[in-house]
Symmetry: C2
Subunit: 68 residues, 2 copies
């Protein structure tokens, strides 16, 4: 998993958690990865439709907006 549970656990602690169950960290990590995949798929589609091989920041931005 690209979004490691330990770093996600740290992030949850930073927001005020005294303890974080391992499953909770894994759950957030999985949710973020799912979101990342959704955004990426759409961003790649945007780039390809414009005949580009490179995914640019505006592709990510538009993909993110389109998912809201």
């Amino acid at each position: 998993m690209p979004l490691s549970s330990p770093s996600i656990e740290k992030l949850i602690r930073k927001e005020g958690a005294e303890r974080v169950s391992k499953t909770a960290a894994r759950k957030l990590s999985a949710a973020l990865e799912e979101e990342a995949i959704k955004i990426s798929k759409i961003a790649v589609e945007f780039a390809h439709r414009e005949g580009r091989k490179t995914v640019k920041p505006e592709d990510i931005k538009q993909a993110h907006i389109s998912l809201r």
Copy 2:
């Protein structure tokens, strides 16, 4: 940043990108971190309201749902 740009770049490539601009990877990484912070804040609040010091998977699940 807990969600490193190189691993995010890999994820975007996996979804079909031939090239990914560094700024695009950074943008997705920042968007995911923002989402993680939002979910974490609410999850911590849920745990505290129930008098728990430990953030559990159900807190993450409910926080995620509440943001949709």
